[in-house]
Homo-oligomer: 762 residues x 2
């Protein structure tokens, strides 16, 4: 099945409302057929186009480059749509990260002469990489295919939870090889590989482990790989030069070119002769050991039926995506289901079939009765992606919470993950946003975890004084900028996290804890500067830091990946109080308008990664803004929210490869899209409430896990009717800032009626 | 209990025979009291003086220096007797190695100001190291004490199998600290630490793991440590500079100075305030994980009674050493029991209480019903140390064989260990001498292992074509020097190993295998050059390599740590054939005499480590010569053997710190001493026979594990009666080159009668 070349940009709101004009492409194979993994692979989206299943351990995808970490921002997903060559296929990727790592176990099929280095993408034939054309690519949920034109090899990938499947069809007349390059990874740099082993076992299984000092340092990743065709010859190389000390291994007493090799720059070349049928490769990984990788491969990688694996992957995606039946044009469905797809690529399973996983203490642990998941981009996903999954997948949300608690219990610091993957901590970004993830899940009714242990873990994280100057925050009520960078944003985020903790404590009847953290949640006031009208960082002696420029962003400022314009809206736990502090509704709305309408030269952010998707000062490409458009609702101007949402949907999302205006951030950008398309958004996760915006699809039916269905219907939805005339839940008018999760969970119909003009003009 | 300063040199043979002149020092506490761990800690012996129990995992000893690997040969045991300072106490050491590593988990007690670097030994106060005096040292089997004079700290060490115990008595008025330096190790060099973690747990337990690229690269060693006094403050440091990439860890977002730290240059400082009682420290290690180290500490490190631990260690040594009751002077007993002590320091336990160990594939395995031992200096210990243990400790020998088989089954190459420790392979030295270790054990009647699996492992090792050019050896019958270094010695050693394999195969009724390897065992003939009268390496086209100098040794020659004079006697599997090839008894004896009597300038070996203990060309300090003196017996000149043995015992061993003329090599030098003192030696391990020399102690009773006793008595033994007049076993004359192991195992009495003149002069 060959996918058509990419559709021209069709903003969702341009599509016809209520009726679907035609049968969407691939509708016969379910919602998975509407997924276009190309979206986000160009521009700043940083998604990957390869094959995976929901929350799978294996994310097998082509890599076009793995540059030096100073030049790798664009390649955080391993693939950039405009790159001319593919250097290989690796088994682990982040979907839409701003920083990166992974790209583990890179393999490249080679027909004919084998070159051992990838070479220069601008110089064909200079290395093992190959040119390719987008015309020869097929991207589907769970499948990726491409022709490697330098070798005339048809490469295909699919995956299940723990096994990546490759099918390489070689030209008949040329010797077939598979190169395994165990040196590079995404965000690469010399010395990143601390140690590695490669081994060819008696039964032909290739295994290895590699320890890298990347984003999460000291990371161990092992694999086991098998081939469908007999191995004729093989060679293992250690490409290291200037090894300080090799012990007594002399040139002749060097068995490493045989069955195994160790070192810091290993490669393996596996030779199959000329083949009259495709070479299949299957690979399992493990964060623990080669033995576990083999067990994973044994248990979840049986047989050699690539097509059956691909069909299973499609079925898995169809099952996962059909939780929401969405109506609309093919383009609308593509954007919607691709966004859903993108919300299901993290966290990922990080546990072997025997239950073993690696924790933040680098030790091996055994998950007792749950699945351990990692890949926690928490600063991003606590906002909408995790609330979405708590709504749609309470079964999984429960596993996620158990994984977070386990991580906290395994942590040498006794804290919940901050930005963790494969069980290890990176300490990236700010806040302790595992706290609102857990609080939100609990208040959304997710159960199946030890709430007491969860609360203990949350308090432990929120009081770990060595982290992000919590010591001063707890004493002074704010993070002083002379002692800790980004003091304003940290204070704001801590205060919100504290509030979410208090909500869960309250719900559990732990009034002491609730009281303490309710109090802490008002700390946002300590960084509010009524004079300038912005949230600002204070010095430890109490004064605001000067000079102050509300436009400046980046390292050294008061804020995390933002400026005063972008960060000053961050009081989701008490928006009315914030509006009041800002001078009341009219002033608040005027300030919001200024946020969106000020003419800003994007060049001022050219040295700040992540601030993308600009509308005035508003930066939809980064998370601090994600709740902001909905704030108009609180100030009595919901039609302005509706305007802004349309503006954002029209300009920041499309069905093109560059269709994400910023890093997808492990599904957060896409979760914003899903919620917004459905007409509501979790401005305050853990409040158990949503704020109503406006829908962008005519109808969506959510099949809740409790057996009920919740339907969103939008009458008269089209580009000419961008405003909400009325919105009712089961016939009753909805409070726009208090649409309650439990009312959704009861099932029923959320009914929007759209109109042409804003209601205040009526 | 304070030991007297070291005794003046009293060669064993100077002592009075038959009667013990006085009660030996410490006789009231059993044979352990006769052990003097100082022997071998000076000069080339490379033993360590610290605390350990037989074959224990922990070998806790002071380190005087851990220099760069280019300057570290003298410090292979961490301690050199003439050094002026102690830099700390570490938990793992090799006893008498020629190369080295280990020195793991180095701690130093500090009173007062803490310096973070060891400083210069020649500049007092320049670092944390302290001066000490030998007058303030106490060394015993299982105990070490010293005063650290720069701090006025009394430091004491003891150990059991898996736990090292420290007792530090600080001056009362100064703050007490313990520094843990996780950076250095023995044979140190920049970059050797690949990765490490340190952690202070909630209960005060300190844990960590370190991966090093040393002699066995990629080695993981973890530990758990507890203190008897409450920790007041602690700091963890990462002393790395120029870290390429730290991820997002900024200065303020850096919790590593708190509960845990990771990196490549870690240190921990633990503060206890002023103490009015000693600080006790107990440490367990694990090759697997911190969790396992904790379990080891929990199970084998209970309580805080240092004196009880010390008493247990003494008891353990007394039990181990009292297998032989030896009579003689105090000096004789000291040398004899210290030699026995030195034969019990390897292999060492390398398995956690849960049965887990790390194998040569870097993976974690579980020992199924046996104890996994490692530290295999096989090129050395197959000669006499392992045969001695097969005789004295068949229970342990059986565990050793099971450990070897397990290693082979875990090996990525499918081979038995070559030179392995903590389960990992170094590929050091030549041959496949685990084969004769197993064959010797089997033929000595050791059971309790799977002989079929053992034979399979042996054949697998002997036919692994990539190792040491076995490919050519199997095809051509010798190792061609133009394809592989040291072709002559390799051919000789392979041929002997092959013969030992054949003996076991024959005993098991595997005649095909026996025939194949019997044939291979004659390959020594292919390196015998009748023209020059030496064993020499051939080129692949068949000619001997020229030019040829029988005196030259070292890298690039035909031999391994030796020259033609030293290596040309290596046909233990068929000495009569060798004598015949060399022209018969008279010529053979003359050549042996030339070996010992030629005047050789030791300076010609100044660039070759390990060739020490010279008598003419004969080098007792290295293993290729260890069987040579006994060869006179085969040529009908046993009195010449007796002369040479006295010459060697008189000049190559003493009770002084420099009392070992060469590296003890994990007990091989000492095992030679034991056998020779008893009057016989295993010239051909796996032959199940000994060659009779002459005894050096008047009486020794071996308490065999089968319940029988075997007694050696030497009448008229003194310096004036150095020759054997008669030797009988249970009254019957003994065949000097065929004293059978099974006759010893039957128990009885080996009765020497000594005389003044050589028998041929009678």
């Amino acid at each position: 099945m060959k996918r058509p070349t990419i559709l021209p940009c069709l903003p969702a709101a341009l599509a016809l409302a209520l009726t679907v004009t035609g049968k969407p492409a691939f509708a016969d194979t379910g919602p998975a057929a509407s997924v276009d993994p190309r979206i986000g692979t160009g521009g700043p989206g940083h998604t990957f186009p390869g094959a995976t299943v929901p929350f799978g351990m294996i994310q097998l995808s082509p890599d076009t480059a793995m540059p030096d970490f100073k030049h790798a921002y664009d390649h955080a997903g391993g693939y950039q749509y405009n790159d001319p060559t593919i250097m290989g296929f690796s088994h682990t990727h982040f979907s839409g990260a701003g920083h990166s790592d992974l790209g583990d176990v890179l393999v490249m099929p080679i027909a004919g002469e084998v070159k051992l280095d990838p070479g220069d993408a601008t110089k064909p034939g200079s290395g093992y990489r190959s040119r390719f054309s987008h015309d020869d690519e097929v991207e589907e949920a769970g499948y990726y295919g491409v022709k490697l034109s330098d070798y005339d090899i048809h490469a295909e990938l699919t995956a299940n939870r723990r096994v990546g499947w490759h099918r390489y069809t070689f030209p008949a007349h040329k010797p077939a090889h598979l190169l395994l390059d165990f040196r590079p990874s995404i965000y690469d740099y010399p010395g990143k590989v601390l140690w590695s082993n490669l081994r060819v076992r008696q039964d032909g299984t290739i295994t290895g482990c590699r320890t890298t000092r990347g984003w999460a340092p000291g990371r161990v990743l092992c694999f086991a790989m098998r081939f469908s065709q007999p191995l004729i010859t093989r060679a293992l190389y250690n490409r290291e030069t200037n090894v300080t000390y090799r012990g007594f291994r002399g040139p002749g007493n060097q068995p490493v070119d045989q069955d195994a090799s160790s070192g810091r720059a290993l490669e393996g070349v596996f030779d199959f002769g000329t083949l009259d049928k495709p070479l299949l490769v299957k690979t399992a990984i493990s964060p623990v050991s080669e033995a576990n990788a083999i067990a994973n491969l044994d248990q979840e990688g049986q047989g050699w039926d690539f097509d059956a694996q691909r069909a299973n992957a499609t079925t898995t995606w169809n099952r996962a995506l059909s939780i929401i039946d969405v109506s609309g044009t093919a383009a609308q469905r593509t954007q919607f289901y691709t966004a859903m797809y993108h919300t299901m690529l993290a966290p990922t399973l990080s546990m072997d079939v025997n239950g073993e996983y690696r924790g933040p203490d680098y030790e091996v642990h055994k998950a007792d009765g749950f699945d351990f998941y990692s890949t926690w981009s928490l600063w991003d996903v606590y906002r909408a992606q995790q609330p979405l999954l708590a709504l749609l997948r309470p079964d999984l949300s429960s596993q996620f919470v158990r994984s977070l608690i386990a991580s906290q219990q395994d942590s040498p610091f006794g804290v919940l993950p901050i930005w963790a993957y494969q069980g290890l901590e990176t300490w990236c970004m700010v806040g302790y946003h595992a706290v609102p993830v857990i609080a939100n899940a609990y208040l959304a009714g997710v159960r199946g975890f030890d709430a007491k242990a969860a609360l203990k873990a949350m308090v432990s994280s929120a009081t770990y004084s060595a982290y992000g100057d919590l010591k001063d925050y707890m004493k002074m009520g704010y993070v002083p900028i002379d002692r800790e960078p980004e003091g304003a944003s940290k204070t704001l985020e801590y205060a919100y996290d504290d509030w979410s903790l208090a909500q869960m404590a309250k719900a559990m009847g732990k009034t002491d804890i609730a009281r303490e953290f309710e109090k802490r949640s008002t700390n946002w006031r300590n960084v509010w500067d009524p004079k300038s009208g912005f949230m600002r960082a204070r010095l430890s002696h109490g004064e605001f830091r000067t000079p102050f420029d509300p436009g400046s962003a980046g390292y050294g400022t008061d804020y995390t990946e933002g400026n005063a314009w972008q960060y000053s809206w961050y009081v989701p736990q008490d928006v009315p109080a914030m509006i009041s502090a800002m001078g009341g509704n009219a002033k608040f709305v005027a300030k919001l308008d200024a946020l969106f309408d000020t003419k800003v030269d994007p060049a001022i952010f050219k040295n700040v990664e992540d601030i993308t998707g600009l509308i005035g000062w508003y930066a939809h490409g980064n998370e601090p803004g994600h709740h902001v458009a909905y704030l108009y609702d609180y100030a009595g101007a919901p039609w302005k929210a509706q305007q802004r949402l349309k503006q954002i949907m029209d300009t920041q999302y499309s069905g093109r490869p560059d269709g994400l205006a910023g890093n997808d951030d492990l599904g957060q950008m896409s979760a914003w899209y899903i919620y917004t398309a459905l007409g509501f958004y979790p401005v305050t996760p853990a409040s158990n409430e949503y704020v109503v915006g406006r829908p962008f699809v005519p109808r969506a039916v959510i099949h809740l896990q409790n057996g009920r269905t919740f339907t969103m219907v939008a009458d008269y939805l089209d580009d000419a009717h961008p405003y909400v005339r009325s919105v009712t839940l089961n016939g009753k008018a909805v409070d726009l800032i208090h649409l309650r999760q439990q009312d959704i969970l009861k099932g029923g119909e959320l009914h929007f009626v759209m109109q042409a003009a804003p209601p205040h003009a009526n």
